[in-house]
């Protein structure tokens, strides 16, 4: 309650704290400028795009889910996605060890291609055709009655039962073992085959390009070039089947367990080149060439989740998020000013600085660790306005408590702070604990929420220590507050203290 002095001179500590804050903000700003980060990286749900979550699955006993296999799958999928040439596509593995999901995010509207492209295991095999039938329904007696030579009754029965009209039969599984005689549908479902063991494998392909047949009606094909081993194997199989009768003079090109095409081999092909034709469109041919070029995935994948957000919905969600944030912030500020009067201005300032730091961190983290702001992240930030403001309330109410004990404002601020500090640290620690655990246990959107929640709670701690407290220390010396002006938030009336110096009991 002393006469107001120039606060800057008398106390060094609040000034030091504020100076640290200034250095911090300027540092962040400079980092953002140096990095050239001018806007926050938005998640796909805010700007439109496709995200696919793939769940690894062991398709047969020989390919177990290992950490290496997942890493390898990530890098192959990354190459495939990059081959589409969409900027800012992302392929990441989330989770830990073998219990990981692969998350692919592609902005814009090329998502449909991505979905088709990435999930293919792309297990390419060349197999001799042993029997072919264009009868699709199961229980076809004609085909069952003419079993191919050297095919077991078991396979013949499977062949008869295979119904290619059923969509589930036409899903590429990649579950076919290379050494088995198998039954398979064609990609279109128009015919079904009995196929011999694989004689040429996808890894024996050294190059794959898409080309267009100039003479025909612009039919797209994929041109394969085999490596030495592949050239020899392909030469062998083609030489052997040319002399056989139809349908056994065909070699089926099998991708993920489905027959892409089964050309009749008219002469041996020792050159080490092969063409896959199959009424492809340009996109299909190019995608298939890319898939073959980058190799087969070591694992099969289930599509855990596919989410496609149109740019319209994206911008709607962004606007809604920002509007909700502005509204929430506005309400909190109005409440603070009404209830705490001039002291509420400290809340306004603190939230403004917290917001500035958060925005700068979004910029910097977007550049440095690829942080993207999602809708759940915005929600986390809005929710944290409440948590941040809670810290101020705890502090302010403590000061009032101390003032009720009959202290001067200046000493009430110091002793109130000593007590409020403990409460704020413990409460914020609980929030941070929640955020960290959510982050590590959850997938997808939940992680975005947890990240912003944790980040904002840390900022809250920082702001309370190096802004709110120092500022309150400084203003407590101002006569306006110290004398309990009706608008200061420390008036006798608003504290509820009857006579400041008289003990209640006396």
């Amino acid at each position: 309650m002393s006469t107001p002095t120039k606060p800057v001179k008398t106390t060094g500590r609040p000034v030091r704290a504020l100076a640290i804050l200034a250095v911090l903000v300027i540092g962040l700003l400079a980092t953002a400028l140096i990095q050239g980060a001018t806007s926050v990286r938005l998640g796909l749900d805010l700007r439109g795009g496709t995200s696919v979550t793939l769940q690894p699955r062991a398709s047969n006993a020989s390919n177990k889910i290992t950490s290496e296999a997942i890493d390898q799958a990530v890098s192959i999928i990354r190459q495939r996605v990059n081959s589409l040439g969409v900027a800012e596509s992302e392929v990441t593995a989330q989770g830990s060890g073998t219990n990981r999901q692969i998350v692919i995010s592609v902005p814009g509207d090329s998502g449909r291609r991505v979905v088709d492209l990435v999930g293919q295991t792309a297990e390419l095999r060349f197999r001799q055709v042993l029997a072919e039938s264009s009868a699709l329904t199961a229980g076809d007696t004609a085909t069952a009655a003419t079993p191919a030579t050297g095919v077991s009754a078991d396979v013949n029965a499977k062949f008869a039962a295979l119904n290619c009209a059923n969509p589930t039969s036409r899903q590429g599984t990649g579950a076919d073992a290379p050494t088995d005689t198998i039954v398979a549908c064609s990609r279109s479902g128009a015919s079904k085959y009995i196929l011999g063991p694989a004689e040429v494998l996808g890894r024996q392909v050294s190059k794959a390009t898409a080309g267009i047949d100039q003479q025909g009606a612009s039919a797209w094909y994929v041109l394969l070039t085999f490596n030495g081993e592949g050239t020899k194997a392909f030469g062998n199989i083609t030489a052997r089947v040319t002399t056989l009768t139809s349908p056994q003079n065909q070699v089926a090109i099998v991708l993920d367990g489905l027959v892409v095409s089964a050309p009749v081999i008219r002469e041996a092909i020792p050159s080490g080149n092969a063409q896959i034709t199959g009424s492809f469109t340009q996109t299909e041919a190019q995608d298939l060439a890319n898939v073959l070029k980058y190799g087969a995935l070591p694992l099969a994948f289930d599509r855990g989740e596919v989410q496609q957000v149109s740019p319209t919905l994206g911008s709607d969600q962004l606007h809604a998020g920002l509007l909700a944030g502005a509204l929430g912030l506005g309400l909190v500020l109005i409440f603070s000013l009404l209830y705490y009067r001039a002291l509420g201005l400290v809340t306004v300032g603190s939230l403004a600085i917290a917001g500035t730091i958060l925005y700068l961190l979004f910029l910097v983290l977007g550049k440095s660790i690829g942080f993207t702001l999602t809708l759940a992240g915005i929600a986390g930030a809005i929710v944290s306005i409440g948590i941040t403001a809670d810290s101020f309330i705890v502090f302010f109410e403590r000061i009032r408590d101390e003032a009720r004990e009959g202290r001067s404002l200046r000493s009430a601020v110091e002793s109130g702070w000593a007590r409020a500090r403990h409460t704020i640290i413990v409460a914020d620690m609980v929030s941070i604990l929640a955020a960290v655990l959510l982050y590590f246990f959850a997938v997808g959107g939940v992680r975005g929420f947890a990240f912003t929640l944790g980040l904002t709670t840390l900022i809250d701690l920082l702001i309370v220590f190096i802004f709110t407290k120092p500022i309150v220390t400084v203003i407590a010396k101002l006569n306006f507050f110290a004398s309990g002006h009706p608008l200061s938030g420390f008036s006798e009336k608003s504290i509820g203290r009857k006579q400041a110096t008289t003990p209640l009991e006396a």
Binding site: G328, E405, A427, V446
Partner: protein, 349 residues
Amino acid sequence: MAKISGLGGRLYSGETSFNIVENRKRWYSVSALFLLAAIAALVIQGLHLGIEFKGGASYTVNQPTATVAQARTAVQGLGIPGEIIVQKIGTSKVRVQTGAVTPDQSKAIETALTSAFGVTAESIDTQLVGPSWGKEITRKALYGLFAFLLAVMLFLAMAFEPKMAIAAIVAVVHDVLITVGIYALVGFDVTPATVIGFLTILGYSLYDTVVVFDKVRENTKSVAANSKMTYSQAANLAVNQTLVRSANTSLIALLPVASILFVGAGLLGAGTLKDLSLALFIGLAVGTYSSVFIAPPFLAQLREKEPAMQALAKRVAARGGAPVAVESKAVRPSTGSGPRNQPKRKGRK
């Protein structure tokens, strides 16, 4: 506002006091009623899980003239297995939800919708969830929940005292159960965003409880030495002293959540914002109640069982007769203002 502040002062001095800890049976009964209803709703009706948990597909067409009947006709003939739910979302969108579909079926649905409404495939918002995916995220959410409860219990036991940790966790479990029960009862959709909401409630509810318990700890530190108040009375004073604070922090926390709910439900109609904020809104309300009416009385009950606290209760009773009378007289000198007890407070730090 000033009136509330004045109330804060009276509550602080003990001039105005609500017997919150004393009347614990009343609050327990209220909570027991809610918990029973919640469990009954969960068992009988169960939660209305979104497609993220049970697998399925969702297609949202943004076309102001689109009607539910049109969408239903378009999709019906495709032979999609399972129940097809068609809903109007907001004013300009129609959403079609189906069971788990194959990629081919999904394409067929999209084609049907694009031709029915004259929109491009890119403008349809699609979500496909595999049937096993839901189990995966449910498992992860549960792991997260248990890890969180355990970590918080250990942390609070260290920061405060073990019995406070138990009481805080009891309050949190109470909040989540009741919130989930309300979801089962009303039949709101449970989506991953809802689960985020549930998990955040844990943090919020604990924040409030921590504020109250911090004051309880302060008031009860030397309660045994003073012999002026029983543990329950000291805890009750703490609850009263932090009542205004609890009300304020809850209100302030509720304001942003309410605005997300308002914008999310009003402008977008459905989605992350609405699901998240609805869970938070309900949970916050329940959490505020429990941090005042459940956690402190439960803590007091735990502590009163200790021999030292029982002995204290006897001493207090011997000194002042009826506990209620003691409260109004004895409370004031110990925490009321006065230079007399200032050195003592400093010594306690």
